[in-house]
């Protein structure tokens, strides 16, 4: 890896003291020693495990004793044909689509609304971002209470009861509504993060550009759609990336609130993996599910990078 190296400032390697080779040798040792901890931990606890899992995914293995029952790609075949897994993938995609279509525009609107010098800006930011720092376990338990079907226990139904002709709704027990309920909780928890990123992005847009547009006769809407939002492009892309990756790998909130139920209506890939890999302890099958999830996340990331590179190229 470190066959050739040179200090970043050229002046130093030809420095007046003629340190020459010892200097280079020292640099080489420094580079290796300083990078070593990161590389060792990263390889030992991320890269090596993944390759190990690829191996185990080819076995029918329940974790007792060594894995000997080699079954080739049968685990993968079974995963891809399992309708529950297919449902899980669709649910992941639905959550991602809802996040992009609802959560991000709302966060963006709020960030623009709060703007750069809105009185009370700091206070609103502190409040809106608060749910992000609460753990998903705490968030899930709070909202289990909110969604309780009994209006005397759950505030959401108590509010619905105030409306005429509305019966209490079992949000988390209704296969048609459970994803909506979970999406509401995810939005409650995460819109503050996106708002924060957008606010930081807005901070980086020179005010003069917008003012010039206004002077040139643009109205506020034109300024927003033609200037502010395009200039926020990078932040919006980052936000979308975090949102999709988060949606594809969501576990804790759903597991605590519904365990993927009722009848798999809120199953996602991670709860599916946990159920088969850890609850039933089918380690071979669970490994295969993990590999499939990993590939989906990787493919998404690579496509995203490729698209963004092209974007930047076009912009330049």
């Amino acid at each position: 890896m470190a066959a050739q190296y040179q200090p970043q400032s050229a002046q130093e390697s030809q420095g007046p003291r003629g340190y020459g080779l010892t200097r280079q040798a020292k640099n080489r040792i420094t580079i290796i020693l300083f990078l070593l901890p990161a590389i060792v931990i990263f390889c030992a606890f991320i890269i090596y495990p993944i390759f190990r899992s690829v191996y185990f995914s080819l076995f029918d293995w329940n974790g007792l004793g060594p894995a000997t029952d080699f079954i080739g790609l049968k685990n993968f075949k079974r995963i891809l044909t399992d309708t529950i897994f297919q449902k899980a993938v669709i649910n992941n995609l639905l959550i991602a689509a809802l996040s992009l279509a609802v959560q991000l525009p709302i966060s963006l609107a709020i960030a623009i609304m709060v703007g750069r010098n809105f009185p009370g800006r700091g206070l609103f930011r502190t409040i809106f971002f608060l749910p992000y720092v609460l753990s998903e376990v705490i968030t899930a338990i709070i909202w289990l209470g909110m969604f309780n079907p009994n209006p005397e226990r759950g505030l959401v139904n108590a509010l619905l009861e105030l409306m005429p002709f509305v019966d209490p709704v079992t949000f988390l027990g209704d296969p048609g509504l459970v994803l909506v309920a979970i999406f509401i909780v995810l939005s409650w928890k995460y819109f503050g993060l996106h708002m924060l990123l957008f606010m930081a992005g807005l901070q980086n847009i020179p005010h003069e550009i917008e003012e010039a547009a206004l002077i040139d006769g643009a109205n506020h809407w034109q300024m927003l759609t033609r200037i502010t939002i395009p200039l926020l492009g990078g932040t919006i892309r980052t936000s979308a990336y975090l949102s999709i990756l988060g949606s594809l790998t969501q576990f804790t909130l759903i597991w605590v609130m519904t365990k993927g139920g009722p009848v798999n209506a809120s199953e996602v890939m991670a709860t599916y993996m946990y159920r088969y890999g850890f609850v039933r302890f089918w380690l071979g099958y669970g490994s295969a599910v993990a590999i499939v999830m990993l590939l989906i996340a990787l493919i998404f990331s690579l496509i995203y990078r490729r698209l963004m590179e092209r974007q930047d190229y076009l912009a330049a």
Binding site: A3, P7, F124, V133, S135, L144, A200
Partner: protein
């Protein structure tokens, strides 16, 4: 409300949109805070009051739930374990990532781009995706049921993002300082330790604040690596408590409030660092 009045004085067209804005933001504030307030109200009621008057202000407030939890040993044990894991992970991340980020920001060598891309690969898959593989290796190493394993795994999964954040912070420090330090006979480590790290303190505290939150809130790693409940951390213990005492909503509310309290206090103290860490990470993406 007086402030904006002066800014747009006389511009009556702008007053109504601004009132609507505030109205909207206040409604949003209510949506965000109501679930938390209801939880705290509930925690200050008896089990009976919780069922008869679930949404009212607790009158009188009862602290029995809190006393019951704080006089038992469970909560304190969970808290202690969470603190150990959080400090371990934060220390690990700071050490490992600042060493690596220093190399990436101050040295050139063949394979630099490759190494950097490799170490930041972790951004592409969060811990959820790789937890099954990680479990198999930890089991093989006989490291299950140890807090050290949780620390190592959390550290590993926080390497990628934090190397990027720290490298950006280190890049912002002028290189002239480095030349001057080497002229004075500093070794690379001297420079790193005595000059760079003190100057990069805002970056280090941003990374520390972010890592503390991530570690503190992580359920999946302890859930999978720890069977022994004497080693459990707060999120895991909170989940378990909710399952066990689910019928006593007031008691669960008190437990959840106590579990959330350290995070909220920390957030109010370190908001600046958390925000700066998140935005520094996101700018680079």
């Amino acid at each position: 409300m007086a402030k904006f009045g002066t800014r747009h004085a006389g511009d009556s067209k702008k007053v109504i949109p601004i009132i609507l804005k505030y109205l909207f933001l206040i409604i949003l504030t209510l949506i965000i805070l109501t679930p938390i307030v209801i939880l705290i109200f509930g925690s200050l009621k008896t089990r009976g009051e919780m069922y008869s008057r679930p949404y009212t202000i607790p009158n009188p407030p009862r602290i029995e739930n809190y006393i019951r939890i704080l006089t038992g040993s469970t909560f304190w044990r969970l808290l202690l374990n969470s603190i150990i894991v959080m400090l371990g992970t934060t220390f690990g991340v700071l050490l490992v990532c600042s060493l690596a980020a220093f190399i990436f920001s101050h040295f050139n060598f063949r394979g630099k781009g490759l190494t950097y891309n490799f170490l930041t690969l972790g951004l592409m898959f969060p811990i959820t995706v790789a937890i099954m593989p990680v479990y198999l290796v930890i089991r093989q190493l006989n490291l299950t049921d140890s807090l050290l394993a949780v620390v190592l795994v959390q550290t590993a999964f926080n390497i990628s993002g934090n190397i990027i954040i720290l490298r950006n912070f280190f890049n912002a420090i002028p290189h002239e300082l480095e030349d001057a330090a080497y002229m004075d006979g500093c070794t690379a480590f001297d420079y790193f330790w005595r000059i760079l790290l003190p100057l990069a303190r805002p970056g280090l505290s941003a990374v520390a604040a972010l890592t503390m939150i991530v570690s503190w809130n992580d359920l999946l790693t302890p859930l999978i690596l720890l069977n022994d409940d004497s080693l459990w951390t707060l999120p895991l213990g909170t989940m378990q408590f909710q399952g066990q005492y689910g019928q006593d909503l007031a008691l669960v509310a008190a437990f959840v409030s106590l579990a959330a309290l350290p995070t909220v206090i920390f957030y109010l103290i370190a908001e600046k660092q958390i925000v700066s860490g998140l935005t520094a990470g996101a700018v680079k993406g």
